[in-house]
Symmetry: C2
Amino acid sequence: MAGSRGKRGGSTLAEVANAAGVSKMTASRVLRNTSGSTEETRDRVMREVRRLGYVPNRIAAAFGSDQISTLVGVCVPRLKSDLFGSVLDSINQTLSNFGYQTMIGTHEQSPEAEEAWLRAILAWRPAGVILSGHTHTRGTIEILRAQSIPVVEVWNLNTSPLDISVGFNHFDCGHEMGRFVLSKGHQNIAYVGAEAGAAGMGKVRQEGFKAALSDSGKDFVTEEVLVDRPNFYAGFYGTENVLNRISKVDAIYYQDDTMAVGGLFYCKSKGLKAAGDVGIAGWGGMEIASVLPERLTTTTVTTQALGKTAAESLVARIRGEPVQDITVAATRLVPGNTV
Amino acid sequence: MAGSRGKRGGSTLAEVANAAGVSKMTASRVLRNTSGSTEETRDRVMREVRRLGYVPNRIAAAFGSDQISTLVGVCVPRLKSDLFGSVLDSINQTLSNFGYQTMIGTHEQSPEAEEAWLRAILAWRPAGVILSGHTHTRGTIEILRAQSIPVVEVWNLNTSPLDISVGFNHFDCGHEMGRFVLSKGHQNIAYVGAEAGAAGMGKVRQEGFKAALSDSGKDFVTEEVLVDRPNFYAGFYGTENVLNRISKVDAIYYQDDTMAVGGLFYCKSKGLKAAGDVGIAGWGGMEIASVLPERLTTTTVTTQALGKTAAESLVARIRGEPVQDITVAATRLVPGNTV
DNA sequence: AGAATAAATGTTACCGGTAACTCAACTCAT
DNA sequence: ATGAGTTGAGTTACCGGTAACATTTATTCT
């Protein structure tokens, strides 16, 4: 494909300008809608743009001007997840509306993976980054400081954020649910979660719940954290383990709704009734709950709003507009009838 | 933050080279491991790289050399989806291993949205793109031709692809399931789907199933395609509609497993037994099926393999290595006991 | 009408890397 | 010891836009 230094596909701005009989600069101005241009000049340039199929080269633009690129890096734990998927979708939508491109990465709850991703992404001189890890390596923090690049930490609420934090108060979610479950008279409460690799925010909700138990002089009668990703099967299996180990368990707090639904199915398979025999509480407000015969007791979370706010905050910071450093995204305990 | 043309964070290659007492070019070569350099030169450069916290500027690199960038654009219908999430995850992993960065976009089954995304992405001169739309606008096709950029179409199998196609044979999935459902003696079969905007590949599976019915001189007794995204509730609601309309329906083919599960729950709520009263067949092999008391009759699909193959094929094409133009990703009908 | 002002367009230099080429130093065979 | 071959390092030009400044053309005002 062309010689060593030949260009690939499209034509250049110079070619467009030449064909339109104007200078490169004029063509550039027309394309960016900066300052006034004559109706006629504008038309001439645009005609050639269409005729030649000119595609602007943002790499050259980002490079040539000091103007920061329109790339934004977003790193989430994983993509195969309703909740993170929803957040990412929302972030991407919003950024896209503001003219930014999203570059993704996944860290699977590994701070080192997050750092590796960050190093690779920074080479593209992004306008900003959105992180979702709850802990960062020393390296990550140093790099971000050195580059003085806008950063939004999402998902978990960080009260002393690197820059901006938009997240749920996981501790409070757990604490509130703990009080609720206790208020329903449950005595022997267990926790079932799943963490592959480093702990995510489920751990914090667990601690919040534990604090509520502690306020009543109690504690979890047992805790089961599988080495797995939170999914239906982990919930099913974790529940089996817990109930086999300590039969008096009369309520279980799950890391999230998928696991809670798994647990619910386990109970059903054993003829145990939710709430009556075993209270079941989840987190996340996932969709499946809406068609279960039971209304799952859970905490619904506003993933869309979270993503939107995160993206908007980042854009505002990039543009130098005033931004709220810490935003708590809404969560709401939905009683249901499984507790 | 510095004057009009001042640079933001890090130092430049020239600064590193200067500090190390070598030329820019030598430093560049050391960093890229090209040709030999003395152990000593290498050390001197790397020491300065670390000391100055130098982050290479890929924008400048991509711009300066004719070498195509390491960006790859990937456009999926939506991010909040287990199946697409899994594909995207797999694509991203694989590309990342090969040193590529993934830039995402969503099209929500709108060919126009796909084209708009493509135009924006091409401005970054990506090394290649991965599309998942089953139809493309004329504009999309023209642009891709003009840019002569590697393209992989995923998800649906395109027998005359723009470039490379890696996908499932949705028609065959439907056809196979149709034959299976018929073989179980069901007579009055309905279809329940959901399409927000343009039709996705569910439509093709529906046609495959229809063809199987046609082979036996039959047709769907009714078809219900809601204007919604495929989810549990749409399955629940669609089933209600279908059964209320035509009570003799004794089997339903669903657009996917989430909808089938929704339908299953509707049936349960009405005291109808799956298989016995109403046969239920889904598609996708989604996780929830694994904890249902029933084993859902469905077609499992290899999303991970699909993503991996798509990414690998794209990389091979980018590198000019031989590639298989069309790859059929595996699907398997899992009988279960709901039909 | 001619000067003052505003608007549209042109010129020049540069962003930070890398390809292609040139040059210097060192190795080795005759 | 001398010339050919090899290897490490330096020079130069350039990628395709855009900021800053210079210049021309159109408009307004006295």
